[in-house]
């Protein structure tokens, strides 16, 4: 099955769902892209903007018309939406995938219903302004998309997810739900908590010292950037992945305390280790690893 011969249904037309729809519609990647959102106004907008060729009035309608169904709803709603879609599908949907940022719970819930037809898809891109108003077909260009197969996932589902990721302009990394969640806990979720801790600390300093804001430069801006993401997402990430994130938060806090107890000379060594750890993780991935201390 190639997605160019498929009707692709997108359930949930927020930033991720509508950006996917816009990208897939634009390139002739599929036979058709159809959509549905819990908010009928959003479905209408997707149609008006040309992101979908048809907007369905219900999830049932969407599921019964889709060969490939993408659940781009908030993490906490994925399993229920997938369960409902199964009832509406009438055997039409051959592959179902979700776009959530943690996979164990979702994979367990969906694989129980959809078995080999379920595969996880995690396009690791976004911006702080959500919603269809901020949709961008280029959102995934140059990004990484995790294709997350369970032990049941069929070859067809896996290949479809790969093709989908590539159609988005993304580089594919294949993994399983457990490994996926362990890795994103570190490179995607932990940075959010680090950024929040920095922003909260600076917030306290700022109350004592109003001029603080005049001195904040690129270092503070970048290190705290992901603290400006949507708060509901932090909460949902936590509900799904706290068992992997919490030990990393403790580890990072321990590193901080260790640094606070170090001498300048020791810190030079620690700085070298940190810099080399960063470089080994990012090497070859980004053209510039700009690291000024401004």
């Amino acid at each position: 099955m190639r997605i160019k011969h498929c009707d692709v249904g997108i359930a949930g037309l927020g930033l991720i769902g509508s950006s996917m729809a816009a990208k897939l519609s634009g390139g002739g990647h599929c036979r058709s892209v159809i959509g549905w959102d819990v908010d009928p106004g959003v479905s209408q907008k997707a149609l008006q903007k040309g992101f979908v060729i048809e907007s369905k009035e219900s999830l049932n309608d969407l599921a019964s018309s889709s060969d490939v169904l993408v659940l781009a709803v908030p993490p906490s709603a994925i399993v229920d939406t997938g369960r409902e879609a199964l009832r509406g599908s009438r055997g039409k949907v051959r592959v179902i995938m979700d776009t959530g940022s943690a996979k164990r719970k979702v994979a367990k819930g969906l694989a129980m219903e959809w078995n080999e037809r379920y595969v996880g898809l995690h396009p690791m891109a976004g911006k702080e302004l959500g919603g269809i108003e901020n949709a961008d077909p280029a959102l995934f260009e140059g990004s990484v998309t995790a294709v997350v197969a369970t032990s049941e996932t069929s070859t067809e589902a896996r290949e479809t997810a790969r093709e989908m990721a590539e159609a988005l302009g993304s580089r594919v990394v294949e993994t399983d739900p457990e490994t996926h969640d362990r890795m994103v806990a570190c490179v995607s979720h932990l940075p959010i908590f680090m950024a929040m801790a920095l922003a909260l600390t600076a917030g306290e300093c700022g109350r004592e010292c109003p001029k603080l804001k005049d001195l904040a430069a690129g270092g503070f801006k970048d290190t705290s950037r992901v603290a400006s993401g949507p708060s509901w997402l932090v909460s949902e990430i936590w509900e799904q992945n706290s068992d992997f994130i919490a030990p990393l938060i403790h580890k990072a806090a321990t590193f901080l305390e260790m640094m606070a107890d170090s001498s300048g000379k020791q810190l030079a060594e620690i700085s070298k280790r940190a810099s080399s750890a960063r470089n080994s993780i990012l090497e070859g991935r980004f053209a510039s690893l700009g690291g000024d201390h401004s």
Copy 2:
């Protein structure tokens, strides 16, 4: 005294010193820009590149030819260099400033020798690649420069520092050494330690899970960026400002532990507080406060 009628001497032609020289030479901001570096090869390069109109063979030569002397040497060398320059100056230097990223120790040492002629200058810009090879006259465009006056600093010195900062293309923030160090501890130094803690934690994860690097995206890259700066600078910052930085590191670690002990619902509230703290510090300073969770 206007700097356009001054011979400006720059001692130390690393990234900051040579970028300043290049910018000041280019715009006719001073009567002349002359330079000296402890490495004669670097002084020669500055001359060849046209950053300075003359490169001096010794600090003494530089000091006896400069109306305004800028000490752009590493933080730990500033006080000694300033002391030596006083001996070489023969009354020529009317204003001396340093470019270090912490000011209390330096200000104490230099004010003891230079009294009202000393003023601190902290152009808050940089990049991870140091040295004259990476000099860029545009390095300070749009940056913040702290003008740091002691209780003794003369109006002439303060005005000269302001003029210098503006010539660099920088926005001026005036403050005193203690307040300066307190503020940079939070917005400039703490981010480095947060970034280091993140990089070290991810480094440990990466050893357990080699695929980690494939998933690292913009969130990890930006949050850890300042961990790639020069390690000697971390050490020197610590030597000069650890009494202000350490309590902030403890505070950030405490915030992290608090978050690890929170529920998803509580974290949504904490995320809102963090985001609003960040925005209130950066508001009006940057066109985009991009905060995606990628």
